[in-house]
Every structure is written in structure tokens, then in C-alpha cells.
């Protein structure tokens, strides 16, 4: 479904990632993990089209999309829930969700999707007409995920969805992701917390200083000694 080949991105001439290869198969949940500032977000942003790569290929459903502008990647079935939520602070919760479905044209279906989001996140329903910016950090994260799902993506890119979320809800968020995945949406999940992400992932990549240094099934990686040493503090 998604193939990233030899991707290289830099900010103002400073290299952030290079030679990144990632594959996400149809219906798979793939995790991209790594410490702070190692290029996870950069990778996702490049896939979503927010950063243009210096070179490399991004192939989505057999189309090369590395030169496609970000807004045209959404209708292809790519949706990114960005780092730091980026919800529309001055719009209501409801309108945020509706905007998530901007590329969909069936008003009725969109309304149904909104309702299903409310079922998924009851807190959002409570706050449907509140301005999104006045909600707490965690509430905003729920909204961001809901909004990302509203595009009915084939591949959902999630950048640290559990960031700033209460433990009780972290599990819930991860469950939600698994559920979405089980309905056939492929997921590329970026997380800091290795064990949580790898525990639910079919496959995982470890990124370090802008390069993929390890990959394998989630279980394999979790049991890898070096990983344990470097990331799990054991």
C-alpha cells in the first residue's frame, strides 16, 4: 500500500532524515518508533506532503506521490493526525470534525461519520459546540484523531496520539487505533513509548538520527536486547 524508498528530507539545508525505507502493507498496523528528535515526525510529514523530500520516492497504491501537494494526497486516502494536534482552535468541535471530511462530498454520509465519532469519543459529543481551543490538551487530542478519521483514509498516519493523554485514555486510544485498523484502515503509528506501540503493531521500524536502524515484527523488536537496553531502560 505504502512504499517509502530512499527518502531524504532536510530543513534549511540541515539533514533530518536520509535513506529511509518503509513499507506499510494493506490493512497492516506499522509502528515507527525512536527517541526524541530522530526524525519520526519528519518522516510522517513527508509522507503527508507537508515537507518536500530532497530525493526519494513515496509510492502509495502504486502511484508516485512525492511531488503531489499535501491537499491532493487526502483524497487518495492518506490522512495525518499531526504532532501537537493542530485542531482549529477557534472553530467548534463539530465544525472541526466536519472539516475532516472536506474531501468527501456525500453530506449524509458525513453526518453519519460525525455521529460515529461521537460514539467513539463521548466527551466530544458533550462539547460539540464548544470552541475547540478551550478544551484541555487531552480532549483536543481526541478531537484530532476523530478529525483524521473523518476523511475515511485508507492509510492513517498518527504522530504520537497518546501524547499528553491520561493513562486511562491511552489504552483507549490505542484500542481505538487497533479497532480502526481491524476495519481495514492501514495505520502508520509514530510513538515514543516503544512497548505500547510495538505491542499492537504488526511490524515496526526503529529510527535513529534520521536513519532506520532496525526493523522487524513488533514482538521481535520488543524482545531485542539492544532495544531493551537503549529504549526501555532495562
Amino acid at each position: 500500500m505504502l512504499q517509502v524508498r530512499n527518502l531524504r528530507v532536510s530543513y534549511d539545508g540541515v539533514l533530518a532524515i536520509s535513506k529511509v525505507d518503509i513499507d506499510v502493507g494493506a490493512g497492516k498496523l506499522v509502528a515507527l518508533v525512536g527517541g526524541n528528535g530522530n526524525g519520526k515526525s519528519t518522516t510522517l510529514r513527508a509522507i503527508a506532503g507537508l515537507n518536500l523530500p530532497d530525493n526519494g520516492k513515496i509510492i502509495f497504491n502504486n502511484n508516485e506521490i512525492q511531488d503531489t501537494p499535501a491537499h491532493l494526497r487526502v483524497p487518495l486516502g492518506l490522512s495525518l493526525v499531526p504532532e501537537g494536534r493542530r485542531i482549529f482552535a477557534r472553530l467548534t468541535v463539530q465544525r472541526n470534525l466536519e472539516l475532516g471530511a472536506y474531501t468527501r462530498h456525500d453530506a449524509h454520509e458525513v453526518r453519519e461519520s460525525v455521529d460515529s465519532m461521537y460514539t467513539l469519543f463521548p466527551i466530544l459529543k458533550e462539547r460539540r459546540s464548544q470552541l475547540a481551543g478551550t478544551m484541555s490538551g487531552g480532549e483536543q487530542q481526541m478531537l484530532a484523531i476523530g478529525r483524521g478519521l473523518m476523511a475515511k483514509p485508507k492509510l492513517l498516519l498518527l504522530d504520537e496520539p497518546s501524547w499528553g493523554i491520561a493513562p486511562k485514555f491511552v489504552t483507549k486510544v490505542l484500542d481505538t487505533i487497533q479497532m480502526v485498523n481491524s476495519r481495514g484502515v492501514s495505520v502508520l503509528l509514530v510513538e515514543q513509548s516503544l512497548h505500547k506501540a510495538l505491542a499492537i503493531a504488526d511490524y515496526g521500524y526503529v529510527i535513529q538520527t534520521g536513519r532506520i536502524v532496525m526493523q522487524g515484527t513488533g514482538k521481535d523488536l520488543l524482545n531485542n536486547d539492544e532495544i531493551k537496553k537503549a529504549y526501555l531502560g532495562l
Binding site: 491537499h71 487526502v74 490522512s79 482549529f88 477557534r90 472553530l91 472539516l99 472536506y102 474531501t103 478529525r147
Partner: protein
Amino acid sequence: MSEILVQTLVSGLLIGLIYALVAIGLTMIFGVMDIINFSHGEFLMFGMYSSFWLYTLYAFDPIVTLPLTALFLFGLGVIVYKLVISKITNAPMVSQIFTTFGLMLLFRGIAQFFWKPDFRTIGHTMVSGSFSVGGIQIGTPQLTAGVGAILVTAGIYLFITKTRLGAALEATAADKEAARLMGIDSQKMFALAWGIGAACAGVAGVLLSTFFPIFPDVGANFILIAFVVVNLGGFGSIVGALVAGILVGVIEVMGGFLLGPQYKLAIVLVLFLAVLMFRPQGLMGKA
């Protein structure tokens, strides 16, 4: 005496609606892009000249050519966006001010180059003249402009709150990168905002041209008031611009009458500052 006061009030109301009309385009651009367009008065000027030339060369009445001018100005707004503004969307606020200030000078220069610095006016139009209601005189051009202002405000308000494109515009205004992730082409939205903003100025220009002289620097007469209106109403708020426009018009005319015409602008400015002290975000601005 009281008749004079009522007359003054009515006149203030009518001019206030025109201020609102001029300001709506400005607030639109600001709301979506966070850019203060110093050249907004010059879009108004182009609208006036468009109306003037269509009238002078082809004898078309300004009211008839209004849609044409609006369309023309929409195009101009989009072109200006594509050629200039699109390159500074991420620049610091000060360089944006710098750029639109440059555009202001450029447009004045262009107008003078092609159309000479002369003052021009449009003679008799469909809306010339005035009528009296219970002893209160109302200028037909002013009234037409006032009605135009209300219609445009309503139209834009509905467009933004009720249409998909309007929602996209608002999303882009809030966070353009996030909007792109929703599949919204932010460049297109910005161009649209400039188009609509310029078209509003164009409509205002046409309506003004039926009773106000036309010259290359005419924008200078309106821009400060437009800024005040936009700011008083709250940057980006369409309804705020309407309310503030009326308020400014009435205060200016009434204040000038009661306290001395040489201070009429000062009165408006003092009140404006006073409001900002209590509502830093303007009357209808979001905090």
C-alpha cells in the same frame, strides 16, 4: 434643532454603511491571512476607475456594471495574490506591511501614469439625486451604497458560515497546514480571500463613484477609517465590520456636528482607542 440631529444621525448611518462596505474586504483578507492590506484603498480606487471608464467610454451606468467591476476586481485580487502576496505568506508581519504598503504606492503610481492625476466624477446615474422622508433628506446614491453594504455583508456572512468553501476558508484562516491535511488547498483559499476582499472593495468603489470624486490617491481618504472599522469590529469579523462601520459613521458625523468638525476624526479615534482599552480584541473579535 431636533430635526437637524435626526438628519445628522441618518447621514452618519449612511456613510457608516459605506465604511462598513470598504472595511469588509479588508477584514476578510485579514481574517484569512493575518495580513493588513495597506493597498486596500487602492483596490477601492480601481473599482471607482473601472466604474468611471465604463461610464465614460461606453455610457454604462455604474449600477449596471457593478457585477462586472466586482468580477474584474476579484481577478485583480487573485492576480495580486499570485504574483506578490503568495510569496510573503510566511514572512514576518512587518515585511507583509512593507509589501502591501509598496503595492499601495505602486497602484497609485500606475493610476496616475495611465489616467493622470485629475479628479474625475461620474455625471448623472440611475441613482443620482435625493429624496425626503418627513423632512429628512436622503441621498439616493448613499442609500444605494448603504443597501449594497448590507447585502454584501449578509452574502459574505452566509457564504462563510453556510458553505463548504466558506468552512474551508475559515479552516485555512485558523491553521493553514492543518487545513492542508484536511485536503484543503490553502493557496486557493488565500487567493479566494484576496479575490473576495478585492471584489468587496470594487463594489464599494462602484457605489462610491456615483457620488465621490475619483482620483489616484482617493484610497488615502478611506484607508484609515477602514482600518479603524476593521479593528473596532475585531479583525476578521464580518459582522463586527458592519456594526463598527455604522458606529464610526454616526460618531464621526454626530461628533463633528456637536464638538467641531476639525476634530471629527479625532473623536472617532479616541473612542476607538477607548473601546480597545476595554475590549482589546475589538467589539466582535475573538479573544
